[in-house]
């Protein structure tokens, strides 16, 4: 069955099992591998993408569920919040193993797009679905605050 949606601004049509999670469709049928597999049940956030701007766990979203919608991955993010987040992530050196960081960044960008000056509680709410086993959490928090300051400035 063909599923059509907009991926990083470009229309794509994929001939895939409609039940296939969006994660695997993006990774294996489009070839964008920045989005990661971590748990397969929306517990860890490594697979986070934006669907219509909303952070979404692509491992548990059937590809048919995004028919006609706009999907953004780590490869396609842009704009003020995305630039501020990625710059802060590098400056503060958030990543260790780096595997979860695409998902962390997608959640952080969505947070800042909706809440430009998040409190620590806002960060907890938006980011507690993203696990980092290297526990880079101290720096994730710092980088989100730093990105918020950049956006304001």
């Amino acid at each position: 069955m063909a599923v059509s949606f907009v991926l990083n601004g470009k229309p794509v049509t994929l001939e895939v099992d409609p039940e296939m999670p969006l994660l695997w469709a993006i990774r294996e049928f489009v070839g964008l591998t920045g989005t990661k597999f971590g748990c397969g049940m929306a517990q860890c956030g490594a697979c986070t993408v934006h669907v219509e701007g909303q952070p979404t766990r692509s491992c548990s979203t059937p590809v048919s569920g995004v028919e006609g919608q706009s999907v953004t991955t780590i490869e396609g993010i842009s704009g003020k919040a995305a630039e501020a987040v990625q710059a802060a992530w590098q400056r503060i050196e958030v990543p260790q193993c780096g595997y979860c960081q695409s998902g962390q960044i997608m959640s952080a960008v969505a947070l800042l797009e909706q809440t430009p000056k998040p409190s620590d509680d806002d960060i907890n709410s938006a980011m507690s679905g993203n696990i980092c086993r290297c526990a880079t959490y101290v720096r994730i928090r710092s980088a989100i605050h730093a990105a918020a300051a950049t956006m304001e400035g």
């Binding site: 397969g40 049940m41 780096g98 980011m127 507690s128």
Partner: protein, 729 residues
């Protein structure tokens, strides 16, 4: 030579390491190592105009400096650390430095602490590479200087190298590395080269940016999961529900009917479903009907096992350390105190579940993996493929975490992929993916342990006797490491951190009962210290309390012969404002522990929550890891170690019922999340001692520091982990 653990209880993986010829011979047999692996022959293989004076550094005509890392980058910052050492001695500009994974080759890239093995672990990467890479960088610099001196017809003594520029000030001439590389490559490689005086270091000790920060921020970093080769298939494996079971029969008809499924293959560990993509493979596996033969399986549950462990702890074990006469001193003590501790099985659960790509083509085998034990994996892949190690090429990619899981003597996931590849058309690459459920239920856990401690205090509250019994499985048992690393019945990984207790107690006995259980176990970030630091540091706190002494003062008085322990303890206490009053409901706890020759003390500040749980607000950490190569990476490893260790003690637990693992994914194998992460403040002890590792040593102190804070707040000792088991927290 290997030291006697009873005399010198050094941490284990380092020991297997310092081994001389005996170690080498023993391990060679076990692992099919082969010295005839093709060598990275420096200059001969270097591209035109490039300088490759040794196996670790290559300078291109394009002015790039490529450092070859013999170690796996799994988050610990090793690519950055190793490259810093080379760049420092070379005089490179950090901007021109790149890092590549070295090929598998034990003769060139062995871990100098592991004997003839190329592998990463035991927080040994920087420690074993420091001298080697300084020399590698200095050699390249010397050759660039010689080439410049020859070219400019000047005295090399007048030539300086700084920030990637070779300069002769007197004649005002300068050249980039790239301009000189080709000429330098024609010169002989000097055997002896001078090293920089550390006072002139410009990169070591500064926090140069991580080489992988950008690629790990924009999604371009390449993990094994991201490898895509022409014609590649994807496999998942159905493994038995209990450890040790084997396949009795398989009905694969329904699996084969799933569109995209290419093949169903029986492999030693289970039944593999091979498909055109992951989703088809997984659906195929869901449709498999496998009957398992559980005759040889482990069918005990963790409750039964713990009951057996407790009974064992009442009997004398094998001595791991014995000083004075603990029994006699205990009998004469003014008072004795006893405590027992329970530690559960723990999964590593790295964010990237195990995965690799294998291609068998002609008489060659290629492996793409976040490979942690390259030459062991090379040997095991060769044995599984029916090839020689020299015919196996390992492409080491960055790993999405490991925490020890990828370092296993059986090379489990790589061997599985080789077996699958053997069943496919020659030349067909296959990617094996473990799901999270496979990871959590797949074994190779931090072993379950039971500890029983008894101490005697004299009338002044001074400890005069200490007895420590540890019960649990051997990590090394049944592996090729066992014959060389288990000495006098003691697996050093079971007792490290306990057998080398630093406290001055005249009568001291540490004993071990090694249990036989069919649950595969493995080292978990900081290995023995994951449990020994907890039991010893909580117990010493109990003794301080019993003696009516301040916990910091009590420890200090017993650390006269261990100045580095004492220094980090004092630094952490000072920075934490130890002894000052905290707001109502908050409390502090402290712990100090050495692992892998790095000394760490942590003070945890906690707030007890209305529901009885504990919130860790802030952790003050002092670390002495010798010379600090990259202070920011050290801070990051302490932060991460604290978070990893905290999640483990607060929530980590795998239970078995009739041999079956009860947890399966992050919903029931809980790990630390951002809202539970404390603030962390790291203080690095200035030092000119040889650098030691930081990947693991941040982990051990956090558990006992938090437990001791909980005691300070509530008067309750948490002795059974995880904390969520203890109803009070």
């Amino acid at each position: 030579m290997m030291k006697n653990f009873a005399i010198d209880p050094r941490p284990s993986r380092r020991r297997f390491l310092q081994g001389g010829a005996a170690t080498a011979a023993g391990l060679t047999i076990g692992f099919h190592w082969n010295a005839s692996v093709p060598k990275f022959t420096s200059a001969a293989h270097a591209a035109d105009g490039a300088l490759a004076p040794n196996a670790f550094v290559r300078i291109g005509a394009d002015n790039t400096v490529t450092v070859l890392s013999k170690h796996l980058e799994m988050g610990q910052g090793v690519y950055t650390g190793l490259a810093t050492i080379v760049a420092e001695e070379l005089g490179a500009d950090w901007e021109q430095v790149r890092v590549e994974a070295a090929p598998a080759d034990a003769s060139l890239y062995n871990n100098l602490q592991f004997g003839p093995v190329q592998g990463t672990g035991g927080s040994s990467s920087v420690a074993n590479s420091y001298d080697q890479l300084r020399k590698a960088g200095a050699t390249a610099r010397a050759m660039l200087v010689s080439a410049a001196a020859k070219e400019w017809a000047v005295d090399p003594a007048g030539i300086t190298v700084e920030k990637g520029v070779v300069m002769h000030a007197a004649s005002r001439r300068s050249a980039s590395f790239g301009e000189l590389a080709g000429k330098a490559a024609a010169l002989p490689v000097p055997a002896e080269v001078p090293l920089k005086d550390p006072s002139r270091f410009t990169l070591i000790g500064t926090s140069v940016p991580r080489v992988d920060a950008k690629s790990k921020t924009n999604g371009t970093a390449q993990f094994a999961l991201d490898v895509k080769l022409p014609g590649m298939l994807t496999a998942v494996i159905a493994r038995p529900p209990v450890f040790g079971a084997t396949v009795k029969s398989v009905d694969s008809a329904a699996a084969k009917a799933v569109p995209g499924v290419v093949k169903v293959v029986q492999v030693p560990s289970g039944v593999a479903v091979v498909a055109e993509n992951f989703w088809a493979a997984k659906k195929g596996r869901d449709a498999l009907a496998v009957q398992w033969d559980e005759a040889a399986a482990e069918t005990r549950g963790t409750t039964e096992l713990m009951a057996e462990y407790k009974a064992l702890a009442e009997k004398p074990g094998t001595p791991a350390r014995n000083e004075g006469d603990a029994v006699k001193a205990m009998a004469g003590a003014a008072r004795t105190i006893t405590a027992a501790f329970e530690f559960p099985y723990l999964a590593h659960a790295p964010m990237e579940p195990l995965d690799c790509v294998v291609r068998l083509e002609g008489d060659r085998c290629e492996v793409w993996a976040g490979d942690q034990f390259q030459t062991i994996d090379q040997g095991n892949a060769a044995a599984a493929a029916g090839l020689k190690p020299a015919q196996v090429q390992i492409h080491t990619l960055v790993a999405g975490g490991s925490f020890g899981r990828r370092a296993n003597a059986a090379s489990d996931y790589i061997v599985e992929a080789v077996h699958i590849a053997k069943a496919l058309d020659r030349g067909t690459p296959v990617k094996l993916v473990w799901t999270r459920e496979d990871d959590i239920r797949g074994g190779r856990y931090r072993p379950m342990y039971y500890h029983k401690l008894t101490a005697g205090l004299d009338a002044q509250g001074k400890p005069v006797a200490w007895q420590h019994r540890i019960v649990g499985q051997s990590i090394l048992g049944g592996t090729p490491f066992e014959p060389v690393m288990v000495k006098n019945g003691i697996d050093g990984t079971s007792v490290e951190g306990a057998a080398n207790l630093p406290y001055d107690i005249p009568n001291l006995s540490v004993e071990l009962h090694t249990t036989k259980v069919g649950v595969p176990v493995l080292w978990w970030r900081s290995v023995g210290s994951t449990h020994t630091a907890y039991s010893t540091e909580v117990f010493i706190d109990e003794l301080a309390h019993a003696a009516g002494k301040d916990p910091v003062e009590f420890r200090r008085a017993l650390l006269a012969h261990h100045p580095r322990h004492r220094a980090v303890l004092e630094l952490a206490a000072e920075k934490a404002g130890w002894g000052t009053k905290l707001p109502e409901g908050k409390a502090r706890g402290v712990a100090v522990h050495e692992s892998f020759a790095t000394y760490v003390a942590q003070v945890a500040e906690i707030t007890m929550q209305p529901d009885g749980s504990v919130k860790v607000d802030r952790v003050i950490c002092a670390v002495d890891c010798g010379r600090a190569i990259n202070p920011d990476v050290i801070r990051a490893q302490m932060e991460g170690g604290i978070g990893f260790g905290l999640g483990g003690v607060l929530y980590g637990e795998l239970t078995l019922d009739k041999g079956e693992v009860q947890q399966s994914n992050f919903h029931d194998y809980r790990v630390l999340r951002i809202d539970e992460m404390p603030k962390v403040e790291v203080h690095i002890v200035p030092s000119s001692e040889a650098p030691t590792g930081v990947g693991e040593p941040g982990v051990p102190p956090i558990g006992p520091a938090v437990a001791n804070a909980v005691f300070a707040a509530t008067g309750r000792r948490v002795r059974n982990l995880p904390f969520t088991r203890d109803q009070s927290v």
